[in-house]
């Protein structure tokens, strides 16, 4: 099996393959059982990492079984007008169902969204946390609403940078060439 194709399976699993290549890969999997089996194995690994149990995968003849039954079903023919309407519509993103994955996906999203206006009632937080807890099909935290607090973005001014650095000991806000305030004279160690 060509390594390039296997790499594409890896990217496909991660939703990192462009649409045209994904389509081509699926078409190849339809006729190449080795490729389909590789996908099953990768999904098994992925599932085991996230869930600590074994994926119950579809049987090798699953697709062909469904396909032969579909052949007995009526064929669709939808008029052009409806087709254009469907094509132009923005599909909404499906809700993530894995709490662990959802948390950091929200991280990336929040980093680019406005901060929400703080709600006076912290019970919302309780509800949000409880609703997003624990089982692998829990819902993600609610989407934040638009914020009225001015958001500073990096790099903030020098004064605030130094304040942030003094506030946190981790120095994780370091940038190349940025050295925080020094409480003692900076010196070089061998």
């Amino acid at each position: 099996m060509h390594e390039d194709l296997i790499q594409k399976i890896s990217r496909f699993l991660d939703d990192e393959l462009p649409e045209d290549e994904a389509l081509s890969l699926l078409q190849k999997m339809r006729i190449d059982s080795e490729l389909a089996d590789k996908m099953r194995r990768y999904e098994t690994v992925s599932h085991a990492i996230k869930n600590d149990d074994l994926l119950v995968a579809a049987r090798p003849d699953f697709v062909s079984s469904v396909s032969s039954r579909i052949q007995l079903e009526p064929t669709y023919l939808i008029p052009n007008a409806e087709r254009r309407w469907i094509r132009n519509r923005r599909f909404t993103r499906p809700q993530k169902i894995a709490a662990a994955a959802a948390s950091v996906a929200v991280i990336a999203l929040v980093a680019h969204l406005q901060r929400p206006e703080p709600a006076p009632n912290q019970k919302m937080v309780v509800a949000a946390i409880k609703s997003s807890a624990v089982s692998t099909d829990s819902a993600p935290a609610p989407k934040p609403v638009a914020s009225t607090i001015p958001r500073a973005s990096y790099p903030v001014n020098r004064q605030i940078s130094d304040y942030l650095q003094a506030h946190s000991s981790i120095y994780t806000q370091g940038e190349v060439g940025f050295h925080p305030y020094a409480q003692v004279t900076q010196y070089s160690q061998k």
Partner: protein, 326 residues
């Protein structure tokens, strides 16, 4: 014993014992065990910090030997640097220049999770609950929710590993439930021992570091105090620092409720100062002008908290200070 039989025994005994133990543990038990584990175990791993909108991966080490502790973070990204905590002193060495900076932080105990009061004392301000179980870094963990009892604090969640009770992940959420900050291990290992790294100021330098730890809210003689702060927030540390490459000092007061910290800065007014409420990542800060000074409060706390603290600042008359300016 065959491999298969061993798997069966390990599988059934481990799930059975964990299930029996789960029923007896409460959030307080788990957090108490976690605080103990943080300080007494040798452990290492890879940690991803997401703070103030920035993502960073670091190697983490915690070494302990006969009561002596050291925490170490090694950056995997530029700027490459190593941050070390030895007792009250935190140092950061930058690979490119080999320059080192030191900081005195007696009120902090961990880069990961910092409880500076007992859980019993925190009861007035937070509610602790065990909300379930999840896997993090392929390790089973208890999920502990820490919910604030008023609008001056943010909610948190800590995932505590079931066997060793070390934190695997922590998160801070704002009032609407949006994630503000997260620290997560992608792998974590407990070791019998870990080496210590030599990292500390030279003998003569140590005295110049010291700020003033404040016990029981007794601020003594300080340039300013905070009146009417939100319940539970009390001053715990004061220092006079040099910042912005300026010769003029900045007075720094740290307020904390035991879990949430708010830093308060007082310095001479400057042209670049920005007044009012702003935020960067999870951190809110509020500045106002008071006489000849600018006062700023900053912390991972709701805007109500930082605003309340800044507005409660009162300047004390200039008298002889216990703390000599640097």
């Amino acid at each position: 014993m065959t491999l298969v039989v061993r798997f069966i025994l390990i599988f059934f005994f481990s799930t059975g014992s964990v299930f029996a133990e789960d029923n007896k543990l409460t959030a307080r038990h788990i957090l108490t065990n976690m605080i103990q584990a943080l300080r007494t175990l040798n452990y290492e791993g890879t940690v991803v910090f997401w703070r103030n909108g920035r993502l960073e991966t670091m190697k983490y080490f915690h070494a302990v030997d006969h009561g002596k502790e050291q925490e170490r973070l090694v950056a995997l990204n530029s700027p490459l640097r190593e941050v070390v905590r030895n007792g009250d002193v935190v140092s950061c060495r930058y690979n490119d220049t080999q320059g080192v900076v030191f900081d005195h932080r007696p009120y902090e105990r961990s880069f990961l999770v910092n409880f500076s009061r007992t859980l019993a004392e925190l009861d007035d301000f937070y509610e602790f609950s065990l909300s379930g179980k999840e896997d993090v870094a392929m390790l089973p963990a208890y999920v502990i929710d820490i919910e604030p009892k008023d609008e001056f604090r943010y909610a948190r969640r800590i995932w505590v590993e079931k066997l060793q009770f070390l934190p695997l992940k922590t998160a801070v959420y704002d009032a609407s439930g949006a994630l503000l900050e997260q620290v997560v291990f992608t792998e974590q290992h407990v070791k019998a021992a870990l080496p210590f790294r030599e990292a500390g100021p030279e003998a003569g330098q140590a005295n110049t570091l010291a700020g003033q730890a404040i016990k029981d809210g007794n601020t003594g003689v300080l340039p300013f105090t905070v009146t009417d702060s939100p319940a539970g927030f009390r001053p715990i540390y004061f220092a006079r620092k040099t910042m912005h490459d300026s010769h003029l000092p900045v007075d720094y007061l740290l307020m904390s409720d035991g879990l949430t910290s708010i830093s308060v800065y007082k310095e001479n007014k400057s042209p670049e100062m920005e007044l009012g409420l702003r935020s960067v990542g999870a951190t809110n800060y509020y500045s106002l002008s008071l006489g000849d000074y600018q006062i700023t409060a900053m912390g991972e706390a709701p805007p109500e908290a930082v605003k309340s603290i800044v507005e409660g600042v009162r300047l004390n008359p200039p008298i002889v200070q216990k703390l000599q300016p640097k």
